[in-house]
Symmetry: D2
Subunit: 144 residues, 4 copies
């Protein structure tokens, strides 16, 4: 993977039952952290985001659980859009120790924008693409 | 992927809040379905499973979300161990429509068995390997 | 409390992470069991239930956690409408051992029917009231 | 209820799937907020809290859902111990708007301290009682 420069980071507030019987954060809960990172990213970076009409839907994820996370850890989720295709886009996210920056988990997801009324995938809006490329500081489109 | 013959299937009981704002089952919730499938698989297939001392920990997952799942759907989770290495093993799982068998989601995970007392990964117990290979009807070990 | 004759019972499928660090089902998870019981009750008993337009919203709950539930237990949720007022109705629910019928938890909730479009509480539809009273075998209306 | 002066407040980080199909925070999720408030309270106020050996277990809750919470709201959870008996103690908690202080939800819970090894309720440790009474600024014991 090309080195990703994460500009978007938010600290996570862990909840008591995020921990499972094995004493560490349950693997399913990581995806709620990634959801939190990505919705916050879009709300911060893109204009006029409205989750009642704009949906971004996960079609593929690929997650490396590198270091277990415990309830006493202080961790943050980092999010970057790393590729924008004509019909889908790629998100790279990490969970890192808030102090040491140790990478606990790495996630790549392929997502689509989705029309909740017509129930079909739609291309990402141009204004979002522009805003994201400006935020990330590079042209992320795979086709120009 | 070699065709997997799934022998282990359990119907899923969906919960009201499994559905997110986009009206479909939230991506993080799928992993709780896969957790349910895998813990049930080990309890059914392997002798003397005790989650207080035996942990199986996810180190990698790779998930294809193929068809959205809605709260009115009837779905089942299918689980198969598809490879057993010296330090890790591979699980292949699917969520399928309980009637039509349409595949909604496919998940491959790499897992390790873990000693909760010593806090280190350990090889899978021989009696578990034997029981799993017998159940699946083939030798799944990558090294013999 | 007057003795309630529960006619509606469904077995619960526990999930791996329903259990918290204390080794028992987490208190918040009980409410997801009660949600499951109540949505299933309305779908079974009342005609034309559509959760996209009909909402039933909890305004008060009162829960007695009598016996801890563990992941190896087999439990069911029982649901009964026990009172129907002009603006709200009361639900009584229990979680019981599926075999011994031991009562693990008792919940009373006050609920309102809610119009999701107009964002206001509305009286329960007459056809629902009739169906519920017929199902429970008695007139549950506090005002006649 | 006697007026409670809440000294312990923490802002809540809402997650994407805290919202249910009805567009507001799901009732079960409120209890995870209260769990977060209470574990944080004990860790902050009491000496030597260790959730591996010290459990605090809910035996009764009573919740008033006064104003719906939406995903765009900024809310905080407030926690106060309001009574300490010989075998149980009472917690009063609220969820409030972080800016306007509007009370969205009120929860009273009766809890017990529990020995996770011996599997039995135990009296609250004297050092915890002293620390809590000092923190709350009054003697909360029902028997002296």
């Amino acid at each position: 993977m090309t080195e990703v420069a994460f500009k978007h980071t938010i600290p996570l507030q862990l909840r008591f039952n995020d921990v499972d019987k094995f004493g560490h954060i349950n693997n399913a809960v990581y995806l709620t952290y990634y959801d939190l990172g990505k919705t916050n990213y879009f709300e911060s970076v893109c204009p006029n985001v409205n989750w009642d009409t704009d949906a971004i839907v996960v079609v593929h994820i690929d997650v490396d659980f590198m270091v277990q996370i415990f309830s006493t850890d202080h961790v943050s989720v980092q999010t970057s859009v790393t590729k924008i295709g004509t019909k889908s886009f790629e998100l790279t996210q990490r969970i890192v120790d808030s102090k040491t920056a140790e990478v606990k988990c790495l996630c790549r997801s392929v997502m689509v924008t989705y029309d909740l009324v017509k129930h079909q995938t739609i291309p990402m809006r141009k204004e979002w693409i522009d805003a994201i490329c400006a935020y990330e500081g590079r042209d992320l489109r795979t086709q120009k």
